[in-house]
């Protein structure tokens, strides 16, 4: 086995070294051209893209060459287990991948770490094993596509990789899931690496591991298929609901001219002065405030996820980069790169050894407007001129920011899990002290029911429209107008329920219709892997949606039909009893995607 490993390594070593040299040259040029080399130089998406496609293409090309008819016989006709042969090849390829992809990254990071004062955290080194694992995963997908009896194995491979791409925000979880993906791919490849590789996998575990990720991707494609059989024909005929929204629907209201929206909402209101009121809003300054969660930086996150991680002071020509290792901002001269001090929660420090625990940030902040340091609980303001740090805002009692502050022309908006705060912009920006709230507006409905918030700046306060497709519950669209008076009082003006649906129910919920199991599974997995505050819909909300009887009956019909078709086909394909039962059960649970995966993974006898 070792001899085979060595041989396979020698086969592609020149290619790997060539790729390493090319990347080293590219890095040398990039670093030469960049006068100011900061941590952002590491955030190179090209490296990731190269790893993704490089690994995949290598995996495909290598296996295509190996599996040529007589080459395949030469490789396998030996006194070795096919598993050992595959391990030898994969181990050699892992070495190639290490040389071709993460090694140059490692060298660049180590170079920065050793020879510059650039902030290099331990987490920057994590990128090397991450790139390594990522490339190995895509390499294994390339192998699987060639080795497996079904070319549709590409759906399985990328279905698994999606799991890693979509979900984890925490570095350790990302590594864990990537490792799991690699183990599954390795298992499937070992099972597929057999003398007659045109035979579908026989083991239950092999079938399930091939089928489920494939079904997840198939759900995506099936959902996209609505464009083919619904959206494109309807658009071509000029009858698409987007072109002609149904009156009385949420979309109809969203599509009417901005100036007329308030009037439309108020048309059934018994307000005395609603016409005057509407006209006032036509003249008011309008703004939209986001009510969705956006991810804050996490401690030791992989650096390509970094977002707004440094402050720059032009007067002192210094840059302050957040160090995850020290949990403080490290200042350095913009031109010389020399250290100029540290900035912690309690203010500026000359030396690192002066820092106490109280100086270190508890969570990783984002930097905004070159003067605010924002975490989900605290907002600090930096006064570089006076070398001062002041607390601008502090959340208490389980309240936290769901996103960063939004700076509008006249006000600053902050949305928390409980309410919306509005501050006078000038005061918020220019006074280095605790911000005084101008308006405090508790959310009228649960945050997950809100899809947006619009503000109209009136003469004596703000008019706010809260809206959502699920404002009054699942599929119960609505909007509510509130008036925040200058004295702080909040008055409810009017609320509207949109009882008509713009899009047919089966199109709107096509992803659920074709496979409730996968729809629910994805929701639950997403919630399990993400930090709870980022969940758009809680598990309870996902699991207890009141679907209409039409949808439910259609689902039952689709799933039972899928199972029956699978049963008939399984007999034609001469599957044994156990496999037939497995596929029929899977189709009963998963529905149409399972039927499609059955067709893609089995051959007619």
């Amino acid at each position: 086995m070792l001899a085979l490993l060595k041989t396979e390594f020698l086969h592609y070593r020149k290619w790997a070294i060539g790729l390493l040299a090319l990347q080293a040259m590219a890095w040398a040029i990039v670093l030469k051209l960049n006068e100011y080399t900061d941590a952002s130089a590491f955030d190179n998406e090209i490296t990731q893209i190269l790893s993704l496609f490089g690994g995949f293409i290598f995996g495909v090309v290598q296996m295509v060459l190996i599996t040529r008819k007589n080459h395949w016989a030469f490789l396998l006709q030996r006194p070795l287990n096919s598993r050992d042969i595959y391990f030898a090849i994969t181990a050699a390829s892992t070495l190639h991948i290490f040389i071709a992809f993460p090694l140059v990254w490692l060298a660049v990071v180590a170079g920065f770490d050793l020879f510059t004062n650039t902030v290099v955290d331990m987490r920057h080194y994590y990128m090397a094993p991450y790139l390594m694992m990522y490339s190995v995963a895509t390499y294994l997908i390339g192998n699987l596509v060639v080795l497996n009896a079904s070319r549709a194995a590409i759906l399985t491979g990328f279905g698994l990789l999606t799991l890693h791409n979509d979900l984890p925000q925490f570095t350790w979880l990302k590594f864990l899931i990537l490792a799991l993906v690699i183990i599954i791919l390795l298992y499937l490849n070992i099972k597929s690496f057999k003398a007659d590789r045109f035979q579908p996998l026989k083991s239950v575990s092999g079938i399930v591991l091939m089928a489920i990720p494939m079904q997840v991707i198939l759900v995506f494609f099936l959902t996209m298929s609505t464009a083919l059989f619904y959206d494109i024909p309807q658009t071509l005929m000029g009858t698409h609901p987007e072109q002609h929204p149904t009156e009385g629907s949420f979309e109809y209201w969203r599509n009417i001219e901005e100036d007329k929206r308030i009037a439309y909402l108020l048309k059934d209101s018994d307000m005395d002065n609603k016409t005057l009121f509407s006209r006032q809003t036509e003249l008011a300054d309008k703004d939209t405030i986001a009510t969705y969660h956006s991810a804050f930086n996490r401690k030791n996150q992989l650096n390509f996820r970094d977002n707004q991680w440094f402050l720059s002071d032009e007067d002192s020509r210094t840059v302050w980069v957040f160090s995850h290792d020290e949990m403080m901002l490290q200042g350095s001269d913009n031109f010389t790169g020399e250290h100029v001090g540290w900035l912690g929660q309690q203010g500026f420090l000359d030396k690192l050894n002066l820092a106490t625990d109280a100086d270190r940030f508890i969570t990783v902040p984002s930097m905004i407007k070159n003067q605010f340091i924002v975490t989900d609980k605290l907002i600090f303001q930096v006064d570089f001129a006076n070398k001062q740090l002041s607390v601008k805002l502090m959340m208490t009692g389980g309240e936290y920011l769901i996103g960063r502050p939004e700076f509008k022309e006249h006000f600053v908006a902050l949305v928390t899990n409980k309410q919306t705060y509005l501050f006078a912009a000038q005061t918020f920006l220019n006074e280095f002290e605790l911000a005084a709230t101008s308006y405090q507006l508790p959310h009228p409905v649960a945050l997950e029911n809100l899809s947006g918030l619009e503000s109209y700046r009136m003469a004596d306060g703000f008019l706010l429209i809260y809206r959502g497709q699920d404002y009054y519950g699942f599929d119960k669209a609505g909007a509510e107008i509130l008036y925040a008076h200058a004295n702080g009082d909040v008055e409810k003006i009017h609320s509207v329920r949109f009882n008509k649906q713009n899009t047919p129910e089966f199109i709107q919920h096509f992803d659920y219709l074709i496979s409730p199991a996968i729809y629910t599974l994805r929701g639950v997995i997403r919630n399990s892997f993400q930090s709870s505050e980022l969940s758009k819909q809680s598990n309870d909300a996902v699991l207890t949606r009141p679907w209409s009887s039409t949808i439910l009956i259609t689902i039952i019909l689709l799933q039972v039909s899928a199972a029956i078709v699978v049963l008939i086909l399984a007999r034609r394909f001469r599957l044994n009893h156990g496999k037939t039962v497995l596929w029929v059960l899977m189709s009963l649970v998963v529905g149409i995607p399972s039927l499609l995966s059955f067709l893609l993974l089995n051959k007619r006898a």
């Binding site: 001899a3 041989t7 086969h11 080459h71 030469f74 396998l76 006709q77 006194p79 003398a195 035979q199």
Partner: protein, 305 residues
């Protein structure tokens, strides 16, 4: 343990609508050189791929050295040498490195055999495999296969595309090894003079079926050539109004009809006489002619002919 190194039972392999093997039942005992012949598409290579587990039968079963072909263990694979017609070897490697690699897998590697067999060919160990001629590659491949000391050696048209000298060297090397080691050799070839020279047993396949499994002499004894003056044969063959028993082929040479038939005794002369033939004589048939007649008898011909 089976006495047969190769055994197939009702082995059938279908590729789409094409039947590559048709209910083939074949048992090859251990020892000796067994030649498999058949026209292109007779199913010989398919049979080898099924035996080595690289394909799965549509129905039926096959075993190799007592193990089911679709579940061959590493141990049995180690006892089987396989040389294909392309002599596929890693072209980017040097000869010595390929030899070293192969040698590492076989604890019983016989250096002596390797050296003696490779000596028949002019192969430089420092040369890259891609730079070897077809004959050199064939010799190198055979040397390695023999040095593994296999219990069963499968040679699938190994001399295809080789010139006379290379073919000669290949056969000499093979026969030398045959005398050195106890093994069963399955030799598939279209070259009748090779078969005639080395085969102890002759297996003929046609359209996926077994049509002969005997010694070459026994096979030759089955085929007889009758020479006669027989003007009516042309119209008989055209009109098919008379059934010529065991008829394989016929040729007209110098005004005389040469008729090849199978499994016919001396009474066939009487049959010819009865049909109006005269000056009848029986001639011996060599293996090549017999096999050719056998294989061409049922070969597809354009309708107009």
């Amino acid at each position: 343990m089976s006495d047969f190194c190769i055994s197939t039972k009702n082995l059938t392999k279908q590729f789409g609508k094409k039947l590559a093997l048709n209910n083939l039942t074949l048992n090859i005992p251990q020892g000796g050189i067994h030649a498999i012949v058949g026209s292109n598409g007779a199913g010989k290579s398919t049979l080898f791929r099924l035996l080595l587990g690289f394909d799965t039968p549509t129905s039926g079963s096959c075993t190799l050295l007592g193990e089911q072909s679709d579940q061959l263990s590493a141990r049995v694979r180690g006892r089987v040498g396989y040389v294909n017609e392309e002599h596929t070897l890693p072209g980017w490697m040097k000869v010595a490195a390929v030899k070293e690699l192969q040698q590492s897998f076989y604890p019983n590697w016989n250096h002596d055999i390797y050296n003696k067999v490779i000596a028949y060919f002019d192969v430089d160990p420092k040369q890259k495999v891609a730079g070897l001629s077809r004959g050199e590659r064939a010799g190198f491949n055979l040397s390695m296969a023999l040095a593994q000391r296999p219990s069963l050696l499968i040679l699938d048209e190994p001399t295809l595309g080789l010139d006379v000298v290379a073919r000669q060297s290949f056969l000499e090397a093979l026969m030398f090894a045959e005398t050195e080691e106890v093994m069963t050799t399955i030799y598939c070839s279209h070259q009748m003079e090779e078969i005639e020279r080395i085969a102890e047993q002759l297996i003929i396949m046609e359209k996926g079926r077994l049509i002969n499994n005997s010694t070459p002499d026994d096979f030759c004894a089955r085929v007889s050539c009758w020479v006669a003056d027989w003007d009516a044969i042309g119209s008989i063959l055209r009109n098919k109004n008379v059934d010529i028993p065991g008829f394989l082929s016929h040729r007209e040479i110098d005004g005389q009809q040469h008729i090849l038939v199978v499994d016919q005794g001396d009474d066939f002369g009487g049959f010819l006489q009865k049909q109006g033939a005269h000056d009848i004589a029986q001639l011996p048939v060599n293996l090549e002619r017999a096999v050719n007649a056998f294989l061409t008898a049922n070969h597809n011909k354009p309708v107009a002919l």
